[in-house]
């Protein structure tokens, strides 16, 4: 890992460890914008870490931005960091400058209809993360991206199982300037899938740590439940799922950074989603009743996994995509396909 990335990740880790605790997450899920946490993150240059300096960012690579989201996932940070990363990336790719403040992206649902007759945006975007808190909404259109002021849209607030906002945004003729960018919706979809993959990989690491600690501390039948083989075996599976998710996410980051990543993103979203389902189940089982309470923080991570695994395409979608790539390559090219690095 390069020096700059290590520095970015250390900074992020320190900020989230100091400020992003269970109480803050609770408050955010109750509708309170964590302004201080956002400001600290933004002041440290982390919100636009992967945006080039001349476009208003910190000049890191796309891999830096993604690795940072893994750290955010590890703390279940209730901020639109993935969305600001995606918005910043799309704007920067289209040659536009990136404004300060929290941003979000649309559409995140593939069926959402959009139309821009005469430069006026019409359409409905469903399940848009953090639309009500964002200062700018980057809409991916077939021929480019447009930065829309949320004040020019109608926003109906909603939330996901994660507890984070997922709003409906109604565009009713807002005047937009489209910055040309090929395949903007496709870019958003793919990179969106990767952000959710790395967020899941981060949350899984936190879940493994919490669960490992819990079974060491919890005493039943006169000894820590970690001493029971049944518990040990299921935690070993949890560790395996966590490691596989991390590996899949890290490899997709590396592939994207190398300029490719089509297959690796599909692998990452499919594998992390599968790991999320298995790991959440094991973690809750190991925690017993306490893990099912609101008082204990496990749900702040597992609920996010349950939302993230389905966003930007769940396992069925990405497994199907990957399967079609493999079938197209052909049986005798399976090995060559599987060993390509990007």
């Amino acid at each position: 890992m390069n020096e700059l990335r290590t520095m970015i990740l250390d900074t992020a880790d320190r900020i989230f460890r100091d400020k992003c605790d269970q109480t803050l997450i609770d408050a955010a899920e109750g509708g309170e914008w964590p302004a201080d946490l956002w400001q600290t993150v933004e002041d440290a240059g982390l919100a636009v870490a992967a945006v080039p300096e001349e476009q208003g960012g910190a000049g890191g690579t796309i891999g830096d931005g993604l690795a940072l989201l893994k750290v955010a996932g590890r703390y279940a940070a209730p901020l639109p960091l993935a969305e600001t990363f995606l918005a910043g990336h799309l704007l920067a790719q289209a040659g536009a400058s990136v404004p300060a403040g929290p941003l979000t992206v649309a559409p995140v649902h593939r069926g959402d209809p959009f139309d821009v007759p005469g430069g006026a945006l019409h359409g409905v975007a469903s399940k848009v993360p953090w639309a009500a808190q964002a200062v700018g909404l980057v809409v991916a259109l077939p021929d480019g991206v447009a930065l829309v002021d949320p004040a020019d849209c109608r926003i109906e607030p909603g939330s996901a199982v994660s507890g984070d906002p997922r709003d409906t945004v109604i565009f009713d003729g807002a005047a937009v300037k489209v910055h040309a960018l090929d395949d903007a919706p496709e870019r958003l979809w793919r990179l969106g899938a990767l952000t959710r993959s790395v967020q899941m990989a981060g949350a899984l690491e936190a879940i493994l740590d919490m669960t490992t600690q819990y079974v060491k501390d919890r005493v039943q039948f006169g000894r820590p439940i970690a001493k029971f083989q049944a518990v040990q075996q299921s935690l070993a599976v949890l560790a395996g799922q966590t490691a596989a998710a991390s590996a899949a996410a890290e490899n997709a980051i590396a592939a994207v950074e190398a300029g490719g990543g089509e297959a690796q993103i599909a692998v990452a979203k499919a594998r992390c989603g599968e790991a999320a389902s298995s790991a959440a189940e094991i973690a809750h089982q190991a925690h017993g009743a306490i893990g099912f309470t609101h008082e204990y923080a496990l749900h702040q991570f597992t609920r996010r996994l349950w939302t993230w695994r389905d966003e930007f395409g769940g396992e069925p979608y990405w497994q199907g995509e990957l399967g079609r790539m493999v079938a197209k390559a052909g049986a005798d090219n399976l090995w060559a396909f599987a060993t390509r690095s990007s």
Binding site: L322, V326, W335
Partner: protein, 384 residues
Amino acid sequence: MTDLSLTFEPRALAPEQEAIRDEIRAFLKDEYDRGTFARAQEAMAKHDFGFSERLGAAGFIGMTWPEEFGGRGLSFLDRYVVTEELMAAGAPCGAHWVADRQSGPLLIRYGTPEQRERFLPEIIAGKCYFCIGMSEPDSGSDLASIRTTAKKVDGGWLVNGTKLWTSNAHVSDYMIALVRTEPPSDDRHAGMSQMLIDLKSDGIDIQPVKNLAGHHHFNQEMFTDCFVPDDMVVGTVGNGWEQVMSELAYERSGPERFLSTFQMLVELVRAVGPDPDEIEARAIGRLTSHLMTLRNMALTVAGQLTDGELPATEAALVKDLSTNFCKEIPEVARLVYPPDAGAGDNMKYEEALATATLYAPSFTIQGGTREILRGMIARGLGLR
């Protein structure tokens, strides 16, 4: 919190490794084109002495050994690349497999100069084959409970006892056996030693143990006052346990672990064709997402070995995931593309499915059972 690194940072291959990949691919293409082997599942189980000799002559055996012992002084990553190509191609590697990966390195580490001089050149030429004598009828996962004894006599040792599940003993020249040279004591791991046993010696009765597929890979060997000369003791008398453990640490996350039923997956892709339906596409995509992830994890471990680390827990974790994955392939295949689904030209698919199904039970047993591996992972997590 844990001493287990779960990040599995990607390990990029260097141009040298891609060059070695080209080298082995060219070798394999030539062999395949000449029809010397048919792509087989369980490439480790198929032996072909001629293939082993040609592989040795081409420099693909003992690759990581120092040059002074005839090796190429290459890294674990270099060897990893060659091994994954051999396994993915289904090449018959059973004859030299153990000698190349375990016996040779053991002799380099613990052997006497005479032993090295006698065995290493033959191993590296692909002409001398070894098997591993560890398990016994009453000692499987609990290896420390072995009962085969070696009693000191003038000029050597007399070995008595029975070894079991020995792959390829019937086609090997030597066994490296773990034996008790002292009776069991409070320290269960004390008093064991490793000996090189010439399988042509008197006092050895080798009997085949057919597996459930009806194939002969396993053997049982009964030793009755079998004489082993002093110069065939490996390392230090009484140090056998430690030597064996160091040997095992290198074997757990090799590419063979996630490629045992790779040919089955290839045949599934072939069977569904270029235009799969949604169910078929998802099934193939899911298996491929596991395959690519496991391969990257194995690469990371090979990279750590190259860097001089000993990622024993990580290797156990990759093996656990990999062996479960290999077992899943035939089960997924039969549901997605039932064996009677094709138009009658389905022989290759059905054969692959039958072989994968029959061999699947062994994957999570051999080389450390699922339960033992998960126990190791739990220890890595600090639970025991």
